[in-house]
C-alpha cells in the first residue's frame, strides 16, 4: 500500500493590507486635516493683521466687514513707518531681548542643573522661592524696582530693562530648564564617568547636547517675553530714541478707545517679523534636539 503523501496545496495568499497600514490610510487624511486646522488657527492672527493692514479707514469702519480687503491700501505701511520710528524701536527691542536671553540662559543653565541634580536642603527652598516669585503682581513691585534702578543709574537705559527682564524671566526659565535636566537619565552621566570622563566633559559632551531643546525652548520664552513687554519699558524708558517696539506701537492708540487700526496692524505685522525669523532660525534645533534625546534600553 502505497501511501501518497499529498502536499497541502499552497494557496496563493490574497493580497490584503496589513491592519496598521489600512488604519493609516484612513487616519492620515484626518491627521492632515487636523494639522491644517491647527495651522490656520495659529496663522489666523497674522492673516487678520495682514488683511487689516491693507484696508482703508472706510472699510475698517464698515458695518458689513469682509475678511479680505476690497482694495489693497498699502498706505498704512508707509504711514506706520513714517510716524513711528519702527527700525530704531526694533533695534532697541532686539538689543534688549537678545541680551536678556543670553543672561537668562547663562544664569539658568548651571542653576537648573544644580537644582535638578544636587541633593541639598537648599533645593526645596529654592524651588519654593522660584514659585513664590511668580505670585507678585507687577504693579506691586514696579515702584521699588524703579527706585532701585534710579539709584544705580539704570533708568532710561536699556541695561536697566535687561536687568528687570532677567529677574522677571529667570524664575520661569529656571523652572522650565530644571524639568529638562531632570528628564535626562542620570545613568548617562554615570556611564560617561565610568568611561573616564570628568564632570566638565560629561556636562559638555552628554548633558548639553541632550539639553539643547530645553535651552532653545527657554531662550524662545525669554526672547518673546522681553520682546513683547510693555509696562516696565513704559515706566523705565523716557528717551524717544530708546523706546522699544511695544512703546512705539502704543502711539497708534488714542483716548477712549480710539485707534488707528490700519496703521497699527501694519506696524504690528512689521514688528512680528523679527520674532518669526528668530523662531525660524531655532525651530530646527528645537525639533532635532528632541529627537536626539532618545535613550535605548
Amino acid at each position: 500500500m502505497t501511501q501518497t503523501l499529498t502536499r497541502p496545496r499552497q494557496v496563493a495568499p490574497k493580497f490584503t493590507e496589513p491592519p496598521a497600514r489600512r488604519a493609516r490610510t484612513f487616519t492620515r487624511p484626518l491627521q492632515y486635516l487636523a494639522l491644517l486646522g491647527y495651522v490656520v488657527f495659529l496663522g489666523f492672527p497674522l492673516l487678520f493683521l495682514l488683511s487689516t493692514s491693507l484696508k482703508t479707514p472706510q472699510e475698517l469702519q464698515s458695518a458689513d466687514p469682509s475678511f479680505l480687503p476690497k482694495h489693497l491700501n498699502w498706505a498704512n505701511f508707509g504711514d506706520a513707518v513714517e510716524k513711528a520710528d519702527l527700525a530704531q524701536a526694533a533695534g532697541n527691542s532686539l538689543l534688549v531681548a537678545t541680551l536678556t536671553t543670553v543672561v537668562v540662559t547663562v544664569i539658568s543653565l548651571p542653576a537648573a542643573y544644580a537644582l535638578a541634580r544636587l541633593r541639598t536642603r537648599l533645593r526645596g527652598i529654592a524651588t519654593i522661592w522660584i514659585l513664590l516669585s511668580q505670585v507678585f503682581p507687577f504693579i506691586l513691585i514696579v515702584i521699588p524696582v524703579f527706585l532701585v534702578l534710579k539709584q544705580v543709574g539704570l533708568v532710561n537705559n536699556p541695561l536697566g530693562l535687561v536687568l528687570v527682564y532677567t529677574v522677571w524671566c529667570l524664575p520661569f526659565a529656571l523652572w522650565m530648564l530644571r524639568g529638562y535636566v531632570a528628564a535626562i537619565p542620570v545613568d548617562l552621566e554615570e556611564a560617561g564617568a565610568i568611561d573616564g570622563a570628568g564632570r566638565p566633559r560629561v556636562l559638555r559632551s552628554i548633558v548639553l547636547p541632550l539639553l539643547a531643546p530645553g535651552l532653545v525652548a527657554t531662550s524662545l520664552f525669554t526672547f518673546i517675553s522681553s520682546w513683547n513687554e510693555f509696562f516696565f519699558a513704559l515706566v523705565l524708558i523716557q528717551d524717544p530714541g530708546l523706546r522699544t517696539l511695544p512703546l512705539t506701537l502704543a502711539r497708534f492708540f488714542g483716548a477712549e478707545g480710539q485707534v488707528q487700526l490700519g496703521q497699527l496692524a501694519a506696524a504690528s505685522l512689521l514688528a512680528t517679523i523679527p520674532s518669526l525669523v528668530f523662531f525660524l532660525i531655532i525651530q530646527r534645533r528645537l525639533t532635532s534636539g528632541l529627537m536626539s534625546g532618545a535613550v535605548k534600553g
Binding site: 534710579k150 539709584q151 513704559l234 483716548a255 477712549e256 478707545g257
Partner: protein, 430 residues
Amino acid sequence: MKRKALLGIGAAAALLLSGCALNGGDSSNSTESATGPVTLTFQSLAYQDSTVAAVKDIVDTWNKKNPDIQIKLTQGTWDNVHDQLVTQFQGGTAPDIIHDESSDIMGFAQQGYLADISKYLTSDVRNAVSKDVWDTVTTSDGKIVAAPTLLQTYVVFANTDALAVEGVTVPTGKELSWDDFQDMAKKLTAGGKFGVGWGLKQPTAAVMNTALGFDGTFFDTQDDGTATIHVGDGELAVPQRIHAMAFDDRSLDPVSLTQSGTDVLPGFLSGKYAMYVGGNFLAQQITESAGAGFAWTVLPPLAGSAGPVQAANPQTMSVSAQSKAPEQAAKFIDYFSSAENQAKLAEGDWLIPASKPARDAVAAQTKDTPVWKPMLTSGDGLASAPFQKAKNYPQWKDQIATPALQQYFANSISLDDLRAQLTDGWSSIG
C-alpha cells in the same frame, strides 16, 4: 568665608535700601527756578496726526525764539499716563511739563507733585478761560496746578439723510431737550433700525458729566477732598432716560450700551443708528471713515431741567513740582495756551478750546463746516463738578459706579438697586 560673603551681601542690600528711602522722599516743591539755559522735557499725549504735527510745530517755534529755554518733546499715551506718572513722581523723574486731564491731575496735586503756576501765567491766558473751567484745575487752597487747554463734551451726531427719510426736522435751536431727543429717537426707530446708538461700555464719565444738566451733582466736597454722596432724582435722571429709551420704547439699541463709542460708530455710518451719542472728538473719526455721500451733522447740546450743562474735564498742561525750572516751564505753557496755538490744536482734535479767543478763532476758521458751530456752543455750558475734587472718586468710579451702571444698563438691576449700590459703595470706600 561664607559668613563674610553673606555679611557683604547684607550690607550692600541695606545700603541700597537706605539709598532708596532717602531718595523716596525727594519730592519737595521747587520754588526757585534755575538760571541760565535749560532744557525741559514735555510729554505730549496728542494723538491725531494733525495735532501731533501742530504740537511739534509749536515746540519748534518756541525753541527757535527761546534759545535759553529749550523744550524736548516726548510722546506719551492716554491709556497709560496715570501709571507712568505715579511711578515717575515717586522716582523724581517726571517730565517738567505734563499733558493730562483735570480729573487725573487733581489727585497728584493733592499729593504735592504739581507746581503752582498761577504767578507765571499772563493775564491774557488767565482772562481767556472761564472761572468754571479754572476751578477744575485749582486746589482747595487756591493753587492753580495746570492751564486748561482743550475740552470735550458729549454731543449727538445725526445722519441727516435718515432724519429726512422719516420726516424728522434737524433741530437748529440753542439746545435740544432730552424730551425732544427721546421723541426724535422714537420716530427714527423702524424696520430694524434704531433711533440712537450710544457706546456706554464705560458709562460713568458720560453719566457724571451729563448729570449736571439735571442739577445732578452727586457729591458735596469739602476743601480737604472728603465728600458725602447724594443720589437723588437729578443724579439718576440721565441713566433713567437712557434705560427707558433702551428697554421701554426701544429707540436706543441696548447692545450698543455694552460697546465702546468707537465700536458703535460703524453702526452709525451704515445707517443702523440715525443718531449717535459720543464725545465730540469722534467727529474726526466720522470725517475719516464716512463713505462719500454720508451726510451728518451735530445737533444742539442736550439740555436737562438745568439747561445744556455738562461737567468740564479739560485737558491740562502742568509743571512738575520736581522740575528744576518751574518758571521757565510755566512760560512755555503760557505760550502754548495762546489763542492761536489752542485754535490750531482744537481743529486737529475736533475739541473745544478752553480759551474764549481761541474758540472765536476756531469759529471763524470753520465757518464753512457747519458741524463746528453746535460743538463750540456746547462748550459754553461747561461747569466744574464736585466729583472732580472728591478724593476717593477714582476708586468709586472704577469699583462701584461703573459695574453698577453696567448692570443697570444691562437691565439686571432696578433703579432703586442702582441708587443703593452707588450710595452704599461710597460709604464702603469712604
